[in-house]
Every structure is written in structure tokens, then in C-alpha cells.
Subunit: 522 residues, 2 copies
Amino acid sequence: MTTETEPAPTSSVSGATLPEIPPTVADLKTSQKTGASYRHTFPVHTKLTPSPLSKEAPPESYRGFVNLGMLLLFGNNVRLIIENYQKYGILISFPGSNVSRDDWVWTSLSHTLLPLNVLWAFQIERWAKKSAVGYRKRLDDAKASINGAGALHDDPKSALKNVHKIEAAARTTQKLFGWLHVFNVLLILTWPSYVSYYMIFHPFMSVTCLMNGTIQLLKMTSFALVNQDLRAAYIFDLPPDKFQHLTRVHDASSGRILTTTQEVYQYDVQYPDNITFKNVAYFWFAPTLCYQPSYPMTTVFRKSFFLKRTLEMLTCLGMMYFLIEQYATPTLQNSVRAVDQLAFGTMLERILKLSTTSVLIWLLMFYTFFHACFNAQAELLFFGDRCFYLAWWNAGSVGRYWALWNRPVYTFFKRHVYLPMVTSGVSRLTAMLVIFTISAIMHEVLIGLPTHMLYGYAFGGMFFQIPLIALTRPLEKWRGTGTGLGNMIFWVSFTILGQPACALLYYYHWTKRHMDDPVPAS
Amino acid sequence: MTTETEPAPTSSVSGATLPEIPPTVADLKTSQKTGASYRHTFPVHTKLTPSPLSKEAPPESYRGFVNLGMLLLFGNNVRLIIENYQKYGILISFPGSNVSRDDWVWTSLSHTLLPLNVLWAFQIERWAKKSAVGYRKRLDDAKASINGAGALHDDPKSALKNVHKIEAAARTTQKLFGWLHVFNVLLILTWPSYVSYYMIFHPFMSVTCLMNGTIQLLKMTSFALVNQDLRAAYIFDLPPDKFQHLTRVHDASSGRILTTTQEVYQYDVQYPDNITFKNVAYFWFAPTLCYQPSYPMTTVFRKSFFLKRTLEMLTCLGMMYFLIEQYATPTLQNSVRAVDQLAFGTMLERILKLSTTSVLIWLLMFYTFFHACFNAQAELLFFGDRCFYLAWWNAGSVGRYWALWNRPVYTFFKRHVYLPMVTSGVSRLTAMLVIFTISAIMHEVLIGLPTHMLYGYAFGGMFFQIPLIALTRPLEKWRGTGTGLGNMIFWVSFTILGQPACALLYYYHWTKRHMDDPVPAS
């Protein structure tokens, strides 16, 4: 094992990373000229030095191991590909070729019908705007009449009564529009759900419908809630301290606190000017679930950036498809028998075999959508806030992971569910449980319906996060955020065991349901 | 896929990692007291932010991926263990139980005979010391007589002649002792080599003999060379500018240049006081290959540190043994047929299957010896300079790797081969090639002899490093040290393909030689 060669001159002993072994070659060359010849005696062990891996040593970079890890991931998958090529040959078919014509029809139908809900929501807002403008005018007149200016009523008392009456009426109409939105929002998912469960066979097809549906559902909810508040502020002409004071943003550049939307949004749009088709359409396509009258915008469209992201997206999608078709599937097929025989050893082995694949697919999925796709989208729309995710891979606890990996959804729930509940006196825990329930239902819908298996696995999977969070939170408190141990627990529970296990579970039931004989285990 | 839950309170929006989404819960609580109710309107998209993975974003830590990589390494090996347990059951036997009695005898013999060479080298030095002291005295007298003080000769001319005569004689004796050392050093490896090649069957047994032999060979070479120079300096009473000036060490603490061994070594021993049994014995066991009359020493023995390292060493050794016996071997066995049929697809698949295992074994090997073992040894001996390796895992080029991973050998060759050659006018390239040749021969000896296969694979493997270095050096110059690409090339060429390939190559020939029928491929 012991061997060595001379490193590149760049890594001469005088190099930064290497301890100085005098003399340097240069020294010796000169010393030769001075007539002194080289001696073997020069000291190489000259000072007390700890080993790089010792605690006493200065912190060392382990970037090299990241590369190794990634390479092994890659190598392992290459190996599996070779192995299962030798077993199965080429399994991959043209994308979608195994999707029936009906599936195509129903899927495209459900996608094309979704915009109706958006338009409908917009229509509601337009009516609401109209009425709001009306009420504002009437209220202004009524208030004016109280102060006697341009008095229509001689009796201020009745004038005040009149004001109250108008306000009451405004509130009721407000409620009305609220309910209209509720119906609309509820409607959004019913249609895709029905189609996915009863009409479409291929899960991937229905997933697209339901994903699209869920996104619109959340978007329209935010759209409705925000506009409701803006409208209220407009009609009743709320003073900043009752309304705007909540929009407190610390502006790093100026270092001061911005207290009005005017200040906060670079390009501010005041209600009711924001109720335009252009505005709602922008929100509809923008990579966010939180409606704002306006967003921080970029000024230039970077063509190269856009093209790169698009290219990445396509490549990653291709790789994902290949990984799934060509050897996630066969591995799953081989596992069916193991599950049948409840051979836990083999099941674990299968899950671990799947894990490398599924991790890779997961990372690809994340990169494709949360980095490549959203950034391309944002670049097109000059959407400024690209914080679609944070460094979830360093998460020191499961809870932290859920807070970091999917910012759009996190922000939505924080803004429209968690904070409203907590501020209206509900305990943090309850708020958290409610959000869990919602997200658990969403999972069940997004996985259960397409697979035609409403067994509550996905629902349970989400709720299983609670003990995990309870487990890893103290750890994080104890070891500080981004603790290695907590991070490991996250990776194992979520990526290495959790995902493959779920995949296996669903695949098993799917096979039992739709296949006559599973491929013989190898 | 889109889901989320409320993170632990620790990761509240006011947390460092998350962008500030105002208002914080606290704000809202107070704002309630002030009578203002929560609004859905507060802005969540407030500033231009790039995605963490974008170039524009501040550098992000990827430590989480290190953990993932390590976990996958681990998971993969667990999987392979399960898989091959189901195939083979328990293969592992008590360490050494499959080693013949003869092997044990010969191995222990060769180990017990090695110390003789050390003692012999010491004996040579003792004689050399005696003569040196004698010559020094005669020279002093002779020189004195030139100056006429205590003149034995009336004629200064003849006195000067006398001095020259003595010096000439001293030089010849010097040469004599030099040759004695050469013979001794050459002898060191002959015995283990003979035993390994002709007597011992089990490769692991002979490897220990040859490893021990090689270490002693290098140690004694350094011992001889250094003492020769010290002796010369002593006899001819060289002035510092002709001798000590080479020991230039920059002392970080005082910031000045130390110019004499006296200054450099904390506990200095001057020739001939260093020619004691205690001194040579210390060098014999010290974790270094470079002899110095004295070394920087630690002052305290940290018992816990020593015990930890020892425990680590034993654990890692156990794990290595397990990995090798229980499933590196079967994988190799299955490969034999692939090699027979020259089925390159399968061969690559096998190599990749081996790679995870072999990487793990390699890392364990490195940690066991270069961190655990050497540190324990050093702690016992109060040996201060623990720089047995540097962060080779980040190496940006193959050459750099060879310079970083094995410091004792690197330092030895730098001190006793490279610098002497370069300073005496040989070109860097030649010096490098010479070192390559030496180390290639060492490899052939350390692998070829134990496996009884002197096919020159190991020799070739070492020389194959030259093109690799030539390939990666420009890369490092271009991308800076520790470039990711260079690092990847290093990992692939060395750890992921190189090592498993060599293992397979040797195992194949070994099987062909010693096995009647290889285990059927699975």
C-alpha cells in the first residue's frame, strides 16, 4: 500500500496545503552555487501537528466525499442498468405509448376545463369590485352628510344610522362573495378527482390533472382571501394602523421598516386597480401560490439562463423517465413475490435496492421542478422572488425539512392557515395538526385517486411525520440546527426507507389489482 | 408532491435560514391586543432573491449530501450483505483459521528475523561512530600541529600532508561503512521476499512480512544516510554555512527562520550522542520513515485518546475482515466466469458492484492505519508530528493525491531521493520517473510476491499513474487546486474503477491457479 510519486510542481513543498519541508528546491539550487552540497539531515519533523481528522486539527473540508458519494450513486445506477439490461433487455417504450386513447382524451379535457374556475374566480372579483366601488361611494356620501357638508339628511343621527345600514349591507355582500369563492374553490378539485378515479387508468396521467387542480385550488384560495381583505380595507377605508401595519418588512438595503404595501411592493397596485384580467392571469402562471396585487419584478430577461433551465428540465425529465421505466419498475416487479411471502429480509433488500434509484429520481424530480422549471417560468414572467426552496438537504430535523424543501406551499400555509389561526388564539400545536390534516388529505388525493386506491397509506404517511418531527426536534435543539445525526435520520426515514417503502406498497397493491401474474422474482 | 407542515418553532420565520415573512407570530399576538385583526394581505414576496442553487446565490453548504452519500454507501453494503447471505449463508470463518500451520511458522519467523537487520545497522553505526571519534581526534591533533602548537612534526608542510592523508583515510572508511549499510539494507527484503514467494501460501500472511520488510528497508536507508552526513559534518567539523544552513525552518510561533538543528529540534541531540540503542529503537517504532537524531515530542500521554484510537483500529479491522470475507470474495468469485468469457458488460457490472465495497474497505484501511494506528503509536511514543496524511479526499489531481495521502513515504522520497537528485542537477522529470520506478517495483514486490504472480500488473498500475497525472495536472492548473472535475477523475480512476479492476485481475489469476472450479456465476 505504501507508495508515492512526486506531485505536480504546483504542489511543491512550499505549497499552502503541505507543511514546509525545507529546503525548497530553489533554496538548494542557490545553496549549490554557494558551494554547499545537499545533506540528508534536514529536519522534516519540526513541529507538533495533529492529524487532519483529529479533533485538535483545524476544520477540514470534506467536499471530496460529496463527489465520491455522487459518483457512487451514479456508478450503482449504471451497474443496475447493466444488470437489468442483461435480464430484461430494453423495457423502455416511447413516452405515453402505453397510455390508452381514452386516458389522453380525459386528461386533456380535465386540463382544459380547469381555467374555467380561474375565470369564474376572476368574474366573482369583478362583481365584488363593482359592488365595493358602489358601497365606498355611498359610504363616503353618507359620512359626508354626517358632517353636514352637502347634507341630504337634516338629521345627523339618522345619517349615522344610514352609514351603519350601508356598512351592514356591505358586510353581507362581502359574505356572499366569500361563499361564491368557496363554492368555486371546492369545485376546482371535484372534476379532476372524478375523472382520475373513474375515467383515467394510467396513474401518471391523472397525477398531472390532480396536481394542476391542487395548484389552482390553492392559488384561487389565496386570490379570494387577499382580495377580500383588500376590499374590506377599501370599502371601510381602514386606516394604516388597522390594516397596513401588518405589512411590516425589514428592508435590508435601507435598513428601515417598511409599513405600507406602497413601500413594500416595488410596483404597487392599490385595490381595486388590481382586479384586471392581466393581473389574475399573471398570478395564474406565476410560480407562487400566494396572491399579491404585485410582486418584486426583475428588469431583464436573461435568454441564456432561460434556455439553460429549460434544457436542464428536459434532460432531467428524460432521465427520470428512463430510471423509472428501465429499472425502478423491474425491481418493484421482483419485489411482489417477497411481499406475498412476507419475506422481510428480501423486502428490506428490495427496498434498499430501490433506495439508490429512488433517491436519484427524487433529486432529479426536485431539481427539475423546483429549480429548473420554476426558474424558467419566473424568468419568462420577470418574477423576482426565486426562493422556491432552501437548503433542505442540510435539514437537521424532519420538521425543518418540511419547512425548507417546498417554499411555495410552506409560505401559502404559513400565510393563509397557520398565522390566521395562531393570531386568532388557536394554539401552535392545533394549527400544526390542522395543516398536517390538510396536507395529509392532499397527499391521499394526489396518490390515492390516480392509483384508484384510497387505502389511506399516503394519509398515514403524512401523519407518520408527526412522531418523526417529535423525535428529531429535541435532537436539533440539543445539537443545533443542521445536526449531522438529525440530518441522517431525515435522509434514512424519508429518502432511503420511506419513499421506496411507499412505492413498493402501492406497486404491490397495483399489481395485485391489475396484473394476472407478477414477473418471477430473481 | 407539494406538501408542507409547520416546522419546529425553532425554525420560525424569524429564523436565520428563512427569509423574513412578516409578521412574526409575536407581532400578530401584540397587534391583536392593539385591536387590529390579522389580514391575509401581508406580502410574502418582497425582494429579488435567487434560488439557492443558482450561480447568483451565495455559496451554499452541501454537507447534507455528504451524509446522504455515506448513508447510501452503507445502505448498499447492507443490501449486498443481505443478498449474499441469502445466497451463501455465513461464509466468514475465524480469522486465520484458513491459514496453514506452515504459513504461521514462516510468517512469524520472517517477522522475528527482521529486527536483526535493525540491530546490524545499529552495530555498523557504533563502529562508524568509534572510527569517527578516532579520526576527529587525529584530525584535531594534526591541525593543531600545523599551527605549531604542541608540534609533533617540525615540518608544517608534511603536517598538512598528514591532515590530508587522515582525511582521505576517513573518507574511505566512510565509504566502507556506506557499503556495509547498502548490503544490510538489501538484505532486509531478501528474506521476507524468499519466504513469501516460496514458503507462504496465504497472501495476507506474506503481505505482513513484506510490508514490515519494506518499512524497515526505508527506515534503515534513512538512518544510514542521515548518520553518514552527521558523521561527515562531525569528522571534518563542517561550519554551519556548509552544513547546518540547509536546515532552514520557518518558526510560525516566533516568526523567525531557525538555521541550526539545535534550534529546529526542541530536544536536540548532537552526533555522536545519537548513536545509542534507545535512539535507534525509538526510530524503529516511531511512525515515520525519516530518521532524525530527535523529534518534536508531546509532553503528556492522553490515555483516552490512545484507547479511542486503539478501539477504532480493532473495530475497523473487524469490519474490513467481514467485508472482504463475507462479500467481496463471493462477488469476485462470480466474476471469474465473466472474465473467462470476456463478457465486458458483465465485467464492468462486476467491477461497479465491487466498487462500493472496495471503496468502503479502502476508506477503512486508510482510517485504520493512517489515523487510528499511527496516532495510537505516536501517542505511546510522545511522537509530536502527527501529519501522517493530508486531506487527499479533496485532491484535484492524481499527482496531488499521491502527495497527500501517504505523508511518511512522500516525505521519505522527497527528502532522500527527489531533493538530492534535483539539487545535484537532475531534471525534475527524471527524478519523478526514478521515484515512480522505485514505487512501482515496491508495488510489484508487495503484491506480486504474496500472490506468487510476478506479472507486472502492479508495476504497470503504478506507471499508469503517469498519464493520469499528465492528464489531471493541467486541469488543476486551469481550475485551481481541488477542482471538482479533477477530484472526480481521481475518485473514478483510482477508487471506483482502478482498485476493483486490479482486485479482479489478481483474483482471476489466483483462482485459475489454485481453484479447480470457480463458483458458478449468479
